[in-house]
Amino acid sequence: MSDWADLMNDLNKLQHSDAVTTAWQFTEQVPHGRDLGMQVVSVDQGQVCMRLTPQSWMFAHKDTKEICTSVLYSLADSAGGLAVFAGALELMPIATLDLRMDYLRPAIGDRALSAVATCRHLSDDVAFIHCDILSEGNRELLATANATFMRNTQGQQLHAGGPGKESA
């Protein structure tokens, strides 16, 4: 990212509550997200935008430039998780309950992917998230995702090693 983009990134972070800022920083530190090169572009009024620059090792076939659907899946899961915090404005452990992806078009690897995730509904226990994946600079949808996240999973997650406490 350029210096200017870094500065805008920092300014955008400053506008947020501590919870969103922490969740943003946490998202940028996730090893799998770093491996794929995911970046948080903005968090604005509960809407999260993330981007990812394709690499040839992300392709679905040896002989084409189509990006593997699973890369889009990871991006949707990460953007969806951050959208829970952007919607709730408080920090709490969360866990993905389920995620449904529809792959509308093949994603060709010559443009960055961008993900836009929003929190559709929030209850005490659950967050419902929608995420669209687009090719940067193109309005055509590549994929859509709907995910359900469990909120406040502290008991389950912090005792993940213990017996019988894993299911939500």
């Binding site: 090893p31 890369v71 899946y73 995620l99 792959y103 993940a160």
Partner: protein, 163 residues
């Protein structure tokens, strides 16, 4: 960290299952992203398995630590794709249309295995159910259903004429 169950039980299989493993391995090797993740084929007592060895780049939550949900998504989608393709008489390369994954237990930072059950292999589509587990295959950590589209004869002929 416990290491029990981190290697799938190996059985002395028939020549047929050895061939099935080789077929799956060959298909996985044609998928660059599967190679990046480190997916490998193993023969288990319930048939062919896909094994995902754990490494740092697969972590989604470093505080627990736990695997990223998208890593399990990839394991499920790619296992479904290889299962559907190996089942097809012409080994046509399927396109993934949609996938729906349920997360049942936390995915710890350890080896993960996946098994595919083909719910229906049609002429144009294939619906595959994939189950993932870590130590105990009776305690799945995630299950997913993947719908795949197999290219039609017309599309294949178009490809051939294109060459």
């Amino acid at each position: 960290m416990s290491t029990t169950g981190d290697s799938a039980p190996q059985i002395s299989g028939t020549a047929e299952s050895a061939k099935e493993c080789a077929d799956w391995q060959a298909l996985l090797e044609r998928i660059p992203y599967a190679q990046h993740l480190g997916l490998e084929v193993q023969r288990g007592d319930v048939g062919v398995l896909v094994h995902l060895p754990c490494r740092e780049a697969l972590i989604g939550n470093f505080m627990l630590p736990a695997l990223h949900g998208g890593v399990l998504g990839a394991l499920i989608e790619l296992t479904a794709r290889v299962a559907a393709q190996s089942q097809d008489a012409e080994t046509r390369c399927p396109r993934i249309l949609d996938s729906h994954i349920n997360y049942l237990r936390s995915a710890k930072a350890r080896s993960t295995f996946a098994r595919a059950d083909i719910i229906r292999q049609g002429r144009r589509t294939s619906l595959v159910q994939v189950t993932c587990w870590q130590g105990d295959d009776k305690k799945p950590i995630a299950t997913g259903q993947v719908q795949l589209l197999l290219p039609t004869m017309a599309a294949q002929q178009e490809d051939r004429h294109g060459h």
